[in-house]
Amino acid sequence: MAPPHLYKTEAIVLRQRRLGEADRILTLYTTAYGKLEAKAKGVRKTTSRMAGHLQPLTRCMVQLAQGRVNEVVAGCQTIESFQALREDLHRLSRALYAAELVDRLTPERVPGFATYRLLLETLRHLERTEDFGPSGGSGLDPSGGSGLDLALRYFEMRLLEDSGFRPELGRCVTCGSTLQPQQNFFSPQSGGVVCPSCAPGTAGPRMLSLNGLKVLRLLQRGSYNEVARLKVPPPLAQEVERHLRSYIAYILERDVNAAAFIERLRRQEPAWLVEV
């Protein structure tokens, strides 16, 4: 359905880039029309009435006018600003990762209300999750973020499913036999789990522990509340993250930029601090 000349829709701002002197091009995920780009004029001036409402990761009601190339933002009003998310680097970096993943995985102008809901709920989870791992710290402690990571894994799994890339976790993708409770293999290229007897003939198999498979399955089939109750020891969490990340990298044919920053925050001491 072609949008009318001037229309209103709810949206989450995924990202922005500078344009010309004071404008920005925003990537919005809208409830009605899916992902689209819109030009926001003059939002880099301090007197802009819209700038504060159009920061990335803001949920807002936008009024869009159809322009020649892009839509132009005619007006906007914040619905949810996720302030607590912005004041904590661990939360923020993961929220940006989620937004970037939505941007990279979804096509333009294809309505996807499920994806919108998923992103919105994920931002809320990332804003409110209190579990900060062993030290239960202030949110600034470098080892923190295990509860946040689980929320992000849940998001990844759901987004993959919404975008048509649901990984097969029930049976071997090569021979179709039901997976046995043992160590199996995960193959990003084949889109799921491969049993040990098929693994040698499969492209890029990676070892998948039984617990790893169980966590992946729960992420795929469980509700967020079930996932949030899970206590995942760090090595297992890393394994699950590696598998999902390699699968996503295979689909996108590239890494997600924001992942590097999450990694950087995790490292105890920035390397160059020691160097200097």
Binding site: G20, T47, A51, G52, R86, L92, A258, A260, V276
Partner: protein, 205 residues
């Protein structure tokens, strides 16, 4: 641009092509500028060419604050009138100009040349943070003012720096956020309004 148009003299076509590379210049503007230069007195054209070459040859970055400068260290870093115990950290050289215009700041600067933008793959390593840490070690600095932009990237950068500087015993401050002069309260977003309320101060007459 594809093949040059044959009715155009080659040097003119080349000039048009060079102008076309500049930001905000489309094909028509490029032509207009080229033909304007063609009619310009030779001396003026030479002055323009010399200015362009000068900028490329003589201007570099200050080895201390990373600002754009033609002398090293730059005039601000070398000045004896500046307060040397305060460093104001900004994203871009143009931000220094904005702060200098106020005449309200007498300390030193440090230019990061960007802001952390995880989605665009710009991390702390891409910024001049290492240089800042080096300065904090060798210079007698009492306060660091984080004057990055009050947007998502700028805030992320400020948070990152605040965390990094925490172990060093110095005062780390952030520019206040509030209502812009000439703005309307009813259009303010809640984040700005909240900060403005938090940072309210007593009226004195």
């Amino acid at each position: 641009m594809n093949e040059p148009i044959h009715s155009l003299a080659a040097p003119v076509a080349r000039l048009i092509e060079e102008f076309y590379k500049l930001p905000g210049i489309g094909p028509k503007s490029a032509q207009r500028l080229a033909y304007y230069l063609l009619r310009m007195p030779a001396a003026e054209a030479q002055a323009l060419a010399a200015a362009i070459l000068d900028v490329k040859e003589k201007v570099g970055f200050c080895s201390i604050c990373q600002n754009v400068t033609d002398v090293d260290p730059c005039r601000i870093c070398a000045s004896e009138q500046r307060e040397r115990s305060v460093i104001c950290v900004v994203e871009e050289p143009l931000d220094i100009l904005a702060i200098e215009r106020t005449r309200a700041y007498r300390g030193l600067y440090h230019v990061l040349h960007g802001a952390i933008s995880p989605m665009d793959g710009i991390g702390p390593e891409e910024l001049k943070i290492k240089e800042l840490l080096g300065r904090l070690r060798s210079e007698e600095v009492r306060e660091v003012i984080l004057a990055t932009n009050p947007n998502l990237e700028g805030e992320a950068t400020a948070m990152y720096l605040a965390r990094l500087l925490r172990p060093l015993s110095l005062k780390v401050t952030r520019l206040a956020r509030g209502l812009p002069a000439g703005g309307d309260l009813e259009y303010a977003d809640d984040v700005t309004l909240t900060r403005a309320l938090e940072g309210r101060h007593e009226m004195r007459d």
